[in-house]
Amino acid sequence: MIYKTIKGFLLSVFALAIIIPCSIVIMGAFKTDLKIISEPLALPESWNFDNFKRLVDSGSVYTPAKNSLIVAFFSVFITLFLASLAAFAIARLITVTGKVLFVLFSVGLAIPGQVNIIPIYLLFVDLGLTNSLTGLVLVNIALTLPISIFIMSAFFRDLPKEMFEVAGIDGAGPWRVYRSIALPLSRPAIGATGIFLFVICWNDLLYPLMLITREDKKTLPLTLIDFRGEYLTEYSMIFTAIVVASLPMIIMYIAFQRSFIAGLTQGAVKG
């Protein structure tokens, strides 16, 4: 009895600890600053989109949202393609090279990506890749390749050997096996990895902060940081911006809950 009461109490406390801040923010996006402070938990008087209109009219949302989308899309797509190829080669074409490559990629798992901020910055200045979305995409690919290859090669290794052997006997080359057998079978793994990569690229602050200074190249996290200084305690604007920046993630989370949790758990080290 006591056990059940304590259990219920603790579970509710943590549930409220998540629900309360999130509802303050979501409802705050539909309220005035005054109401946010005086009645943070009250429902908004009307669900009007005034704050959203003001945010869009300020002209500081469309460009960063577009940039974030471009960077995240290309980073995820290219990383998934390169990582699945590499993971397939490492897991299925087991040779000495495969093993050596795996060890080299594992080095990248052990070293935190933030070690590279200074050499990457200096290298990108030399190559003229600062203030460029291509530069951000390249950084994202390099940083997420090791973990993606690690996750996917574990998956490829668990697929039944026989399928690959039969295909080989039937005369399918490695490309054919990759395209027609490995890829279709690994859709869940690729989906989970893709979601996890998308979250990382969408949310990253450190590298954009370092590499991007031009307004027209800024991504959403950078704009949010600017908002902190610009609007200070004008919480209606800040909360609206948080809702806008998080909306794609929230929609995806509701739609693909399972893959989301699987992906973000496998990648916890980098997230």
Partner: protein, 283 residues
């Protein structure tokens, strides 16, 4: 087939990581007119003997890590034991607890900045309304509390993620062990102590290692909420490195500090793994 991936990885990961070692032995202010100067190990001796802010940041980072590891691991294990079974309620709660993980560190930082606001924030407003005026502190603005306030946010942010890892681990424990323990009349606490805890040790090793790494990578959150202040009380290694490189223009010195960061993280994770594995072997 692994070649394209390896080429990018070699140029943009391995090569920078190696050249970082070289930068760590240099002094350079980033001015293209001046040449980087080779200084051997002087960057390292300087940071450990003359740089109070570095020592303080290292200490802050350790305190932050210990706080977050203890509370995040404790809470995530507790909730995972409550929510191991798959029912509609447990799945709902797990989904809810996991939710903060999908938000960006910047969003989480801004949300908690608003909650901690000393005048208008929800936390102090509630404390005042409940009559605990003396507890309504300036959470992020006071160097005595700011690091703890950040630790609370970090735990809020990632407990759900670690709980999911624990749930996966706890679901592997054979149900018969609990049934046998119940037959022997073991209480819930005894079941936890003698079945759950020893069986979950490998998972604990993973959770502790992930959490440790996260506390050394918490750049985004710290940058958003306090930017290292007040009085360097929340400066951790990554934020200090960022400041030294991009505001202090000490590229060589900052590179040397990233080397220390890597050594610290690698030795900590190695040490934890060893301890937890030894513990596991002994039982």
């Amino acid at each position: 087939m692994a070649l394209p991936a390896f080429a990018i990885y070699a140029v943009l990961y391995l090569y920078p990581a190696l050249s970082n070692l070289l930068w760590a032995t240099r002094r350079w202010d980033g001015n293209p007119e001046s040449e980087p100067e080779a200084v051997g190990f002087r960057n390292f001796t300087y940071m450990f003997t003359n740089d109070d802010v570095f020592i303080q940041s290292l200490g802050n980072n350790f305190r932050f890590m210990i706080l977050v590891v203890i509370f995040q691991t404790g809470f995530s294990l507790l909730f995972a034991t409550y929510l191991t079974k798959n029912t509609r309620t447990t799945i709902f709660l797990r989904t809810l607890y996991f939710f903060p993980t999908i938000l960006s560190s910047v969003s989480v930082g801004l949300i908690w900045l608003a909650l901690y606001d000393p005048n208008y924030g929800f936390i102090n407003a509630s404390l005042n309304a409940l009559g605990f005026e003396s507890l309504a502190l300036n959470w992020l603005g006071d160097s005595r509390y700011a690091l703890y306030a950040l630790a609370v946010t970090q735990v809020w942010f990632h407990t759900g993620q670690m709980m999911v890892i624990y749930v996966a681990g706890l679901q592997q424990i054979p149900q018969e062990l609990y049934e046998a323990a119940q037959v022997d009349g073991a209480s819930k606490w005894q079941q936890f102590k003698h079945v759950t805890w020893p069986m979950a040790l490998p998972t604990t090793a993973v959770v502790v290692a992930y959490t440790t790494i996260q506390t050394f990578r918490a750049f985004d959150l710290v940058y958003t909420m306090t930017n290292g202040g007040p009085l360097n009380s929340t400066e951790i290694l990554v934020t200090l490195i960022y400041r030294n490189a991009f505001f202090g223009y000490q590229y060589g010195y900052a590179a040397a500090q990233t080397v220390v960061l890597v050594v610290v993280v690698l030795s900590l994770t190695w040490l934890q793994r060893r301890t937890l594995r030894l513990d596991y072997g002994a039982k």
